[in-house]
Symmetry: D2
Subunit: 292 residues, 4 copies
């Protein structure tokens, strides 16, 4: 427990993850692009770094949870970036969902300095971050995975090693693809049901009594029934991941006709100003398309 942890990126997920690290007793320094976000954690006892470079200098391990590949670029490679504070033995735990290309480039830069990185994107959304029940999908050296397991287990309950650097991100993106398909399936069904006079609750009840049941349908079905679209996982972020997934598929020459169609529906939800609402608000885009 004596590893000094730095945490970069105090968004919806990051602030909850950082708080768990603090509560589990890790010495913690935080950094965020907009410094105001550091205050709640500072009150709980975290130190605050002025730059990513300073964050790296003051930590043995930096955990990052930022929005997209551009934010990782800024965090790591900027003039005052993390790389400037890296020295042999330093570890970087990339919990952001970004592209395999990005995580591979970061790892290469760290290794040149005798350090190393592990990618470990998470699933579990806001609640999982708050309750320390996240699942980590890691990519990188198995030894680094083992080394950083205690850090991950302070924030979650399970970490699955998916392979080399990039393969964790790949699995994470596939997973967010699966979520997209499931939500689209539910919402296309709900809208059709509404037109046919079948209540949402009946549709969810039948799904949940079937061999293809999933707690996800109950969770999101209940939110839609209550018209509760408060952000657990924002449409903007899911579309970002769908786009990374389609770019990855394109570079691997792996057609994803279903994913491509579904992304456009979520894009339409963004276009209609729903980007900051929860991903289940995609139902509104489908309702509009159906003239409801």
């Amino acid at each position: 427990m004596d590893k000094r942890i730095g945490f970069a990126g105090l968004g919806l997920m990051g602030q909850r993850m950082a708080l768990n690290l603090l509560r589990k007793g890790f010495p913690l320094t935080v950094w965020n692009r907009t410094p105001e976000r550091c205050e709640p954690l500072a009150k709980e006892g975290a130190a605050v770094a002025k730059t990513p470079r300073e964050l790296a200098e003051r930590s043995d391990v930096v955990v990052a949870c930022v929005a997209d590949p551009a934010a990782v670029e800024r965090l790591v490679f900027a003039d005052d970036g993390l790389l400037g504070g890296v020295r042999p033995g330093f570890r970087y735990l990339e919990c952001s969902t970004v592209s395999p290309d990005t995580t591979r480039r970061v790892q290469a830069a760290l290794r040149e300095r005798g350090a190393d990185a592990l990618e470990a994107p998470v699933t579990g959304s806001k609640n999982g971050a708050a309750n320390a029940t996240l699942l980590f999908m890691t990519g990188g050296d198995k030894a680094v995975h083992e080394e950083l397991l205690p850090v991950m287990m302070a924030m979650g309950t399970k970490a699955i090693h998916c392979g080399g650097m990039g393969q964790g991100s790949t699995v994470k993106l596939v997973g967010n693809g699966v979520i997209s398909f499931m939500l689209e399936a539910l919402c296309e069904g709900i809208v059709l049901g509404r037109k046919a006079g079948v209540p949402l609750e009946t549709i969810v009840e039948v799904i949940q009594a079937s061999g293809y049941a999933s707690p996800y349908y109950a969770f999101k079905g209940a939110a839609i029934a209550k018209r509760d679209f408060e952000e657990h996982f924002a449409i903007d972020l899911l579309v970002k991941d769908q786009t990374l997934l389609l770019e990855l598929a394109s570079s691997l020459k792996s057609p994803m006709p279903g994913m491509a169609a579904i992304r456009e529906v979520f894009q339409s939800a963004r276009a209609r100003g729903l980007g900051r609402e929860d991903i289940c608000a995609v139902v509104k885009a489908l309702e509009t398309a159906a003239g409801l």
Copy 2:
């Protein structure tokens, strides 16, 4: 247990369902378009009817499990069809997956003769039919649902009343839509994973450790891993249901962009001669499209 049951349609599902009725002690008469299929049940003690009309005459309740709306037409409305043998109090239990239009038309014809129908399409595929663990999604009068519950419970474990005639079919079609999305999600992910060097097993492990886990992913993932494409639910039948769903959506003016894209992938699997294989063989169409 003294109701005399007639069973029409002894395909993959029907033969197993009829056998369960027989074993639970119902007096059973069977009919099938190709009469050879009646033999195994005759050996177990079932009587055999020469025509649907005769089947109706010899039964209090006729259970139907045939391939598509055209087969229901033939069964019910042909010159030697079921309608000719219907009298007041007769009951028709439609377990085929057909369109709401079809079940509504059958019900209207039965009611003119003082009889009634309940639609009760099933989910659970071959294994559920064999083990009497099917789920029924019923549409029609609640009283008829109650009346026929013992018959359904001889073949399954649960029956959910979804509303009036047509609404059971609607929910069933939505359910098969959900299956289509989930399988497409899994297979697009598996093919991408293969190109990225991530094993199928890792993808399924991560899905199953996540909040969007479903026994369905484990079941179909294992089959694909073993390249076991033996029919539980044939691609031809699922495409039939996808098509009924899209027709229903079209008549209700309810766009289904995801479903439309996904159906074309399954169509491609049919076009490549995979129509009689299990629905998870859709992975082969995606592999081909990916140049694997």
Copy 3:
């Protein structure tokens, strides 16, 4: 010019086509499901039949231009239908856009009575019908094509024999598919252009200066620029044809992923109440999806 012509179906297209037959000197009898529609032609000198059967009895050739396969069913096969008035040598010219299955069934019924049919769906929309500049895509015996050429040339300028019965409909449906793709291409481009600050006129100018220019882009681009959505070809009718095309593709196991995606956009336009507007009103569905 001494052939007696019957005309069934006096919609947007039919009334204009019938008028041209009258003006070119053909003795004309008309029938329409709602008889009021016959009045304008009666004033110009057409006789009016009370039933399709009477229409057939009073004509050597009946030309049909009705909305969909169900309307052809009613016209030909109903108790008072055309078939009752058919005798050897009678000719039926099917100008409706329906499925190959439908036209084949009609032809078979006519041939049993020593008569014959030619399918001859048209393109050219309202203006072409008014100006007698329609194009006919025929299917059936070449001899019947030749025999009916003078009738067609009274309403249009060209008739292309596409093959046996069903192949004219196939080509017509493919053609309406092509229209759908072109309009979707134009409208997706226009909406994107609007978001990027590029005027619609610039987009159309560039298209028309390119190797992929088409008078269709100029025609529909100008209508959209003026927000003139008056019906030339209604969205409801095009969606009907898109659906027939996808059903044909499905029965032939020929995947149409582009067409499937595009139909859902037009479906969304219908769902939003635009079914009776011109097909270029699909731009409104895309604008809504884009948050405009």
Copy 4:
């Protein structure tokens, strides 16, 4: 005619465009990443630069025609890049099809040095490049457009000013989207026709006799009829443009459901090893999907 021209990028298009500049009497220096490609032009009298920087130093105007945004990056911003040779009054004519973001960034860098850029992506493919019949879609200052018109008119017949920097690229990408839709429409129709026994020639004849005719259908229909898939415009390049278009649409929040579906079909063609064939080879991907 005394402007010294530099030409960067001697691919399928570039070599033909550069040759026309030479033949029209412009003093020409060329540069290509793989220097062998410079030889044919050197034989015709062109000078050869060793680096983009040298190319800029020796020219008043540099014309670029390279593959993608990454190649523009290298050309302009590398250590030996064009920027190093730029001085006030220098002009850069970007004929590559890249993203509006890229052309805007290049322009900004040039303006800092008192120079300026015009984007001028072209359409017309290989033949248009050879015959100097290209169409230019320009973005940037109208004055720079006028200034560079003589250079463009040495390679083409028309230049349409679409607006500020980025709007030329936008229109070009929309145009390549339109091409994609038209080709997909034609090929989905041809494959369906083949299954229905309708010859390709009949389909093209009907399209060309209709209001939606386009020389493009005749051109590509003839190539497919002859199974002539020699590159005029390679699938790899069109997919690159489709991807840029979808990225642009995503950043503008403008859904393109048709384009998204169609790109996946072209991706499948790439995955099957057809990336270097002409874009009409997409028909092969559809044939495979249809089991032909």
